[in-house]
Each structure stands twice: as structure tokens, then as C-alpha cells.
Symmetry: C2
């Protein structure tokens, strides 16, 4: 049930979401959505929690795959996972909520619990210690976000991927720490799923 709602929201977004079309598309009714999730907000909360759980799980699995996460740097791994067709819909949803939260933090802020912040921590933790600081982490996060926006707008995966690889080259070419050469995997602590409680009433 919640999976179907997630699929619908991945397709249609969260900005102009209304219950009746969603209910009709997934074979239920607005009456039952309100019954199972308490309210529209409860539904969105449940779906966004599901998105976060799936994304974290999928990404943890991707970086744990041998020879993938460590071989080409954390940012490249993260980017490849992001624009993968299986994941890009979830990333688009999270991105959309992040932008909506700029105008309306009271409404959309709660859906972001630990989402955007965890990206920054994740990237910052994967930086080599010599350049692990807030400015670099902010820059890396911005590169990912900006390229994601560009990819979502244009669909040009080749150009955006090349831009990211160029950025990675900029980083490694100016590395001051010895023995860079892509040998700094630092694949530790990525998941940190935080709190996952939040059982509501009414299973679906």
C-alpha cells in the first residue's frame, strides 16, 4: 500500500499532491488513506520515511559491493548511485522536498529529518583528513546538488557525469596529502539510519 503511494509520488511529486487522484491510481479511496494514515500529512510522512529508508538501504548496499565503493571515490560512487534509474526518482523526491522546505519549513521541514544533513556528513566523512573541513564538504555537497538539478532538468547524464569527474580531477590534482591517487576510500559509517521508530496506526 505504502509502496504504491511511494511510486505515485515518485511519478507525480509532492508539491501539488492531492488524495483523490492518488487513491484512484493505487486502487483505494481518499477515505481509506485518511483512515490508515490519519491525514494527508501522515501519509506524506510515512512515504518520505519509506523513501529515506529505501535510499539509505540501497546506498549502503551499493557502497558495500566489493570493488565499487572504494575504487573510484565516494563522490563518484554517490553520483553513480544517484542517477541510477532505480534511485533517481527517490533522489528527485528528496530534492523536491528540500526545495519546498525553503519556503515552508513548517510543512516540509519535518520530511527532511536527517536527510540533507546526512549527505553532508557522509561526504565530509569520506574526504581525506587533510582536507576535511566545512568549506570543502559544503562545496562537494553543492556540486552533487547542483549536478543533480542539472541532470533532472536536462536528463543529460553524460555531460553531468563528465562535470563531476572533472571536479574529482580538480580535487585530486591539488591534493596536498601524500599518496592520493584514488587510494582513500574511507567507506566507513554511511548508513546511520538514525531513529526509525514512528509506527503509526493502521497498517497498509
Amino acid at each position: 500500500m505504502i509502496g504504491k503511494a511511494l511510486d505515485y509520488m515518485v511519478m507525480h511529486g509532492v508539491a501539488g499532491l492531492t488524495l483523490r487522484p492518488l487513491a484512484g491510481a493505487i486502487g483505494t479511496s481518499a477515505r481509506l488513506l485518511a483512515y490508515h494514515f490519519g491525514s494527508k500529512d501522515g501519509l506524506i510522512t510515512a512515504v518520505m520515511d519509506e523513501v529515506r529508508a529505501r535510499a539509505q538501504g540501497s546506498f549502503a548496499e551499493a557502497v558495500a559491493r566489493p570493488g565499487k565503493g572504494a575504487a573510484k571515490g565516494a563522490m563518484r560512487t554517490f553520483w553513480a548511485w544517484t542517477i541510477h534509474p532505480e534511485n533517481v526518482g527517490h533522489m528527485r523526491l528528496l530534492f523536491e522536498v528540500q526545495v519546498l522546505a525553503i519556503r515552508d519549513p513548517a510543512t516540509y521541514g519535518p520530511y527532511l529529518r536527517g536527510t540533507s544533513g546526512s549527505w553532508l556528513e557522509l561526504i565530509e566523512a569520506s574526504l581525506p583528513p587533510s582536507r576535511r573541513n566545512r568549506a570543502v564538504a559544503t562545496l562537494c555537497t553543492a556540486v552533487i546538488d547542483g549536478l543533480l538539478l542539472e541532470y533532472l532538468s536536462s536528463g543529460d547524464g553524460r555531460r553531468t557525469t563528465r562535470a563531476l569527474e572533472h571536479f574529482g580531477r580538480l580535487m585530486t590534482d591539488t591534493a596536498r596529502d601524500g599518496g592520493s591517487s584514488g587510494r582513500k576510500p574511507a567507506t566507513g559509517r554511511i548508513g546511520t539510519p538514525g531513529r526509525t521508530g514512528r509506527r503509526e496506526r493502521g497498517r497498509a
Copy 2:
């Protein structure tokens, strides 16, 4: 009239915009908005055209100011202009429309005529010829967009500005071209793009 509507949209965004609250806030009625602009879409079109006109004019004026545009690189100038309190509202509006256009190009795409594309061209044209290519231009645009998102979300102008300056250092430190007057990285402050003029233009 359109100026007041613009101010309201700068404050409240374009996602959940409705006529009656806007009309009440600027001292008119939904009836008259529909009368003067034909429809809600016509109003948004007029306002977004005004945003684009003001932004382009203001930025052209900023780069034309002697000793500012050329001294510290196009990206730094663009960034300083972007997060200036006088302009950041317009940039937020354009950013918001760009994100909405991902989901609904039919509705919000027309409001982007020449907006995002012109940024890329503007930045690409300001790159030194040796590194003027699509990957670098895409990367620079993404850095601006991503840092703008981060700034709009966190309001931390110092951290985002430092991240941009770090990116500028990455670019200049790996510059292989000796041309274009190898200037210093200009580590000074950025956020002071001249005096505070530019009172509101007339226009209804």
C-alpha cells in the same frame, strides 16, 4: 501594480500561489488581477518577465561597475551579486521555478525562457579559453546552483562563500594556461558589490 505582485511573490513563492491573498495584500482584488492579466498564468508570466528583466539589468550593472567585475573572476562576482539581499529574492524565485519545471515543464517551463540557459552561457563565456568546454561550464553552473540551494536552506553566507572561494582556488591552482593575466586568488571579502542604490523602479 506588477511591482507589488512581484514583491508578494518574492515573499511567498510561486508554488502555492493563489489570487485572493495576493490581491488582498497588494490592495486589489482577484477580479481585477484576472481582468488586467487575463488569468493567473498571465499574471505569473508578467511577474516572471519582470523578475528576469530586473535581474538581468541589475547584474549587467554590477559587472559593468569598474574594478568589480573583472577583478575577482566572473563566478565570484556572480555569487556576490546573487546572495546580495537586493537580488537573492529574485534568484530564489527563479530557482523555485526551475525546480517546479522539472515536474511540470508544461506549466512552469515557459517562465524559464532564457533564464537558466543564459547563466550557463554567461559563465562559460567568462572562462579562460583553455578550459572553456561544456564539462567545466556545467560544473561551474552546478556549483552556483548547489551553493545557492545550500544558502537558501541554511542562510549561512559565510560558509557558502568560503566554499565558492575554495572552488575558485581549485580552478586557478590547476590552471595550465599562462594567459589572462595570472592574477592572485583575491582572498579578500566578496560580499560588498558596491553601494546600496537601486531603489524600486516605478512601474505601476
